[in-house]
Subunit: 172 residues, 2 copies
DNA sequence: TACCATGGTTCAATGAATGAACCCAAAGGG
DNA sequence: CCCTTTGGGTTCATTCATTGAACCATGGTA
């Protein structure tokens, strides 16, 4: 890809970020990981992504240091993918983008809304809690269904997110 | 693209946002527009993007309502692309992503830093001015060269950005 | 008139995405 | 002991997008 070749020539932090999370599907994988998705099969079911692409994206995110692949059972061997601290810090960009999409590209209102765990206040597109006056880290946030949620999907992830769910906590 | 097909199935604001600005090069075009790039040739020179791809991306952004194509001279006919208010609101996502890239993917520090025009304070990844305690809109921001800037490019846009430049204001 | 700049379009070759099929190891059931 | 299922992948042919070079059209300019 020319973006890769121009990496140095671009001389721009945004271009470097896009090298890591700018490919098709990648940011949706990250978003799912933020919701607490950890297993290959759950990503697959929730995203409707081709298996080969999912494998490539997970490997690339591990390589880049956004995800950590860890063995959580030996027999049979099972691995899970969880966000690293570097991955946690994608919270603000992901939230800001989703908020922009919700504001300009839907007629039914946002599909999901985010609240500050410690006070329950809804946070804005910059992750700010108006009550506490702080920028809420992903560890202190919760997703709740929003007014625009269609609720037509029936995979385990969609089911879990139909009720409030703490960010990063594993899907059942 | 499957993302397109799954548009409704995804039921997610982030997926909708990525439909508009998630393709390769698109967000870099938007970033350049934020810097004040308006002419086809300037995008071309600054991005090193294939002409066909640039044409397609500009048309798609106009179609989506992020850019406005306007005739600024009749003889010879010349058009320029400028950000709509909807485009201005990509400021936070773009800034947040660039900030993340600068924090995790460069060793030399950020290439460009952003300051609040009215007070001169540097703003953070959430566009916040610590002095004024507000979220700075793009109209009140200025780019300045950062410590990690390589300065090897010599197109008109790179030249213009080697000194402080008000966001959205046209490149000379 | 010849040349040049701007702002594109067209085209062949390459590379990535897609979706279906296949693979494999380990349980679990009978 | 055999058969099936489940999770987590890989392989492969087809389709689609990207790339880079070449071409084109319009309207100045020397």
């Amino acid at each position: 890809m020319a973006l890769g070749k121009n990496y140095d020539a671009q001389d721009c932090s945004l271009a470097k970020a896009l090298e890591v999370i700018g490919e098709r599907w990648t940011l949706l994988v990250v978003r799912d990981a933020m919701y607490g998705v950890r297993r290959y099969g759950d990503f697959l079911a929730h995203l409707d992504i081709p298996r080969a692409v999912l494998s490539q994206r997970l490997a690339a995110l591990v390589e880049a240091g956004v995800l950590d692949k860890r063995r959580y059972r030996d027999s049979p061997p099972r691995d899970e993918y969880i966000l690293t601290p570097m991955g946690h810090e994608l919270w603000l960009p992901v939230l800001a983008l989703a908020e922009w999409g919700g504001r300009h590209l839907t007629s039914t209102g946002p599909r999901r809304v985010f609240h500050h765990l410690t006070c329950g206040t809804r946070i804005d597109g910059a992750a700010r809690c108006a009550t506490c006056g702080v920028q809420v880290p992903i560890e202190e946030a919760e997703v709740r269904p929003g007014p625009g949620l269609a609720g037509t999907r029936d995979d385990p992830v969609s089911e879990a997110l139909r009720t409030p769910h703490r960010m990063l906590h594993p899907i059942p």
